[in-house]
Symmetry: C2
Subunit: 257 residues, 2 copies
Amino acid sequence: MDIEKIDYLARLWIMEAATKIKQSFKETLDIDTKSGRNDLVTNMDKETEAFFVKQIKEHFKEHRLFGEEGMSDEVTDLNGVVWILDPIDGTLNFVEQQRDFSISLAIYQDGIGYLAYIYDVERDELYFAEKGKGATVNGKSIPKMNKTMDLQDALLIANLSVTKKFPTVWEAVKVSRGLRLHGAASLEYMDVATGRAGAYLSANLAPWDIAAGKIIVEELGGIVTRIDGSEINMLEKGSSIVAAPKIHQTLIDNYLP
Amino acid sequence: MDIEKIDYLARLWIMEAATKIKQSFKETLDIDTKSGRNDLVTNMDKETEAFFVKQIKEHFKEHRLFGEEGMSDEVTDLNGVVWILDPIDGTLNFVEQQRDFSISLAIYQDGIGYLAYIYDVERDELYFAEKGKGATVNGKSIPKMNKTMDLQDALLIANLSVTKKFPTVWEAVKVSRGLRLHGAASLEYMDVATGRAGAYLSANLAPWDIAAGKIIVEELGGIVTRIDGSEINMLEKGSSIVAAPKIHQTLIDNYLP
């Protein structure tokens, strides 16, 4: 796997896709009806994924793409090189807010994550990690996660889906410094990666929601598992808990089934 | 009241205060302990309010300041000109995230709001309204709020305090497009003002949390009341619901006591 070439092109394509997405903002704002806006975002999602599919086929014939829109290969294993893409993570935020959404891209080889990109389009912030080489945001090193940070020192992010399924999470929220909810999984992973939150819990995420975030968080010493503490199979949807190490242990031990 | 002079100086002082707050970021990040960080933010809060008190005393001898830190006059009426200030709204976000906090300033005369400033420090976005002259963000007009927007077309923002006190709010969340929670009242008012959210509900806010937001939202055609639909007395703490007009009606009629 030619990491340097992949990295160069991945960045180029993310920025090209982001430019198109930003151009669509004006259009979004001109559309008054909910269905019109939904159609637009569906189109932008599909267009972005199609763009990546085309580029990958052209430059990396043997690679496969595993994406939200399912426009490329049917992926039932992670053998060889697989690009895992969420063309717009946080589509509802894209439609309603024109902020707090991202392009999330991860490159896996034989099931192991090597490269991760999460681009917060509106803030113009590119989070990046390469396995074994740390993580950056816009080229600036992100410090390793705080190993001693306790639940009571941190903000928590939790979806309603998770609090509904596991009401004991409310107890964890009470112990924490407070609840936040931004509505884009990849960026909420980055809230944890940068220490803005101590943990983020969700009951049901797809591989493309978390593939890049998991690489970045783990590179910084954070922990990513299912809510029962088990390892994540990157081919299946499911729950996710991403947290600073001590908080992960506390949540698993005391607040989750 | 010399609106032009007040406006000129208010902007100047906000930017000067914001510069000091941003300088403190590095310091915040260097402090590892929770109590250390809390002390710093308390200091920044106080320092910012003291700065405004000093400037106002110097330039507008007859004006009073009503602020979170209570460093100036004891304000028990709104006669004359009163500056209502939250030096850092979203202090927890300031400590934990170094984003999603603001300086919130409103200028009232005889109980009527004339000027409002909410400065999102990290995003460098200044929301502004002058009574009767519309609202802007960084000088760009904010469009009037959508009068026909329904609950099912919009994101909702609600604090845990409000869902705990009024559990029926969960029903409204289910009908809406989803829940968000950013943790800074003034900026959540601006989410509603700009249409990023349809409504924001909170069970307990202080006058300085909402004084500026109320002016901006009302200037754009939005509705701000207590949760029982009554008018807000700007001298008292209490609940608040800020919403697009149709959504405000729907919430009051169907989801609140």
